[in-house]
Amino acid sequence: MSANSTPIYADNAATSFPKPRAVLDAVSSVLAGVSLSPGRAAHRFSLESSRLIFDTREALAELFNCPDSSRIAFTCNVTESLNVGIFGLAGVQLHPGDHVITTALEHNSVMRPLRYLEKSADISISMLPVSGEGEVLVSELPRLMRDNTRLIVANHVSNVTGAVADIEAIGRQKGDALFLVDAAQSAGVFPIDVMRMNIDMLAFTGHKSLLGPTGSGGFYLRQGLALRPLKMGGTGSNSETEIQPDFMPDLYEAGTPNTLGIAGLGVGVNFVSSTGLAIIREHEKRLCHLFLDGVARMKGITVFGPSAAQERAAVISLRVKGKSESEVAQSLDRDFNIMVRAGLHCAPAAHRAIGTFAEGTVRFSFGLFNTEADVAACLRALEIICKN
């Protein structure tokens, strides 16, 4: 067997790697210098920390077309953002007897909070079904809408099938319901315009296609919408009162933030914006097309999700006939120096929808820094694994 001399990283849907050099430099210079307590003191290090965080907020607001950057709050990751969104609505906007619509492609970071509320807060849940190619059938939305539908939660890009949901169409048909979008896999690759898409809350993570460090993430919340914060505490503002500030971003940002991560994220977002989403998307589409084309020629490989690269993200789930998912992933890593992910990808409903529950799939996910040579190496390895 021919191991590749340098490791090939094809697990960008989990965390993107590598990061732009500028992100590393930003994180280390902050750690070496100004990573103190933003907004808590008048000295220049504190002010500089605040400035780094402010700049990241402004860069994200521009990327998502948020009219006011104070409507973006930082969290540790998209899971926290989705939890703030779902649990923060409970008892405020979401009451016993209310109805929620979500999709069969949701990650557990949406499904577990929703299932918890279903049991503990008498919320009912309907799921938008999925086509044979693993795409959300948005056309079914009107049939599922009820008078008491208070919330719609939808995954923009599936971390299992790579399918892209038409969130603009959902936003158009949401009526009086609130619309929460999980942009974990899409932010930094696909255009997201919170105004045009009628999004009330957008949850994103920093460490995937926005090219920031792990431990960075956040959400956008529409003007006029308030949630119950999951944590309260020091914000550096209104210090004379024991009541949590009622304005964003402070309302949702108690405690010393992850200045390092947020500073790195800001540089990642700037890298994405200056490269251009269209160019990033075109690159990933090209790699996806090459990979799909290659595996289509191999006997014994089943690919899940949309068959055309232009209709999907470069997140590709597959199975090799006669081999377990973990066996394939282990061989790729050990024998070929290729890193992918195997299993259920934290989305059991999505696996049920495409018929890969409970074994899961082998998932290749390509990012901005993968090359055509990487894809070719993945194809060669799969070919050998199929034959053995």
Binding site: A41, A42, F45, E48, S50, E58, F247
Partner: protein, 113 residues
């Protein structure tokens, strides 16, 4: 990296120092985010200003405020209002440690957003 982390800020602060010969105004905003937003807007409009700790005489809050020449007061208030920013307080500096609150007309209620 030879530059020390504070160097830039020092440079910027000395560049932006308001003309101390004229009377200055101090605007209080709701948090550091809005102070930095105000700084960005003022900088873009070429209005010289300083970001200063909220004077103890105005509030015991541990935040920052923006100081600028009173000649620019209307422009600053217009800039901030048209960006949708709420002003928590507006003062004229009467002496080193003395501040006079200005009319409340521009000061938004501390409403829930």
């Amino acid at each position: 990296m030879s530059a020390r982390p504070g160097d830039n800020l020092q440079k910027l602060n000395s560049m932006w120092s308001p003309v101390k010969q004229t009377a200055t105004c101090v605007v209080i905003l709701f948090s550091i985010h809005f102070v930095l937003k105000a700084e960005k807007l003022l900088k873009r409009s070429g209005i010289s200003h300083d970001v200063i700790p909220v004077p103890r005489e105005i509030s015991s809050d541990c935040g920052m405020a923006v100081e600028f020449s009173c000649l620019e007061k209307e422009r600053v208030v217009d800039l901030l209002s048209s960006a949708g920013m709420r002003i928590a307080g507006l003062y004229r500096r009467d002496g080193k440690n003395s501040f006079q609150p200005l009319s409340q007309e521009h000061i938004a209620a501390h409403a829930v957003n």
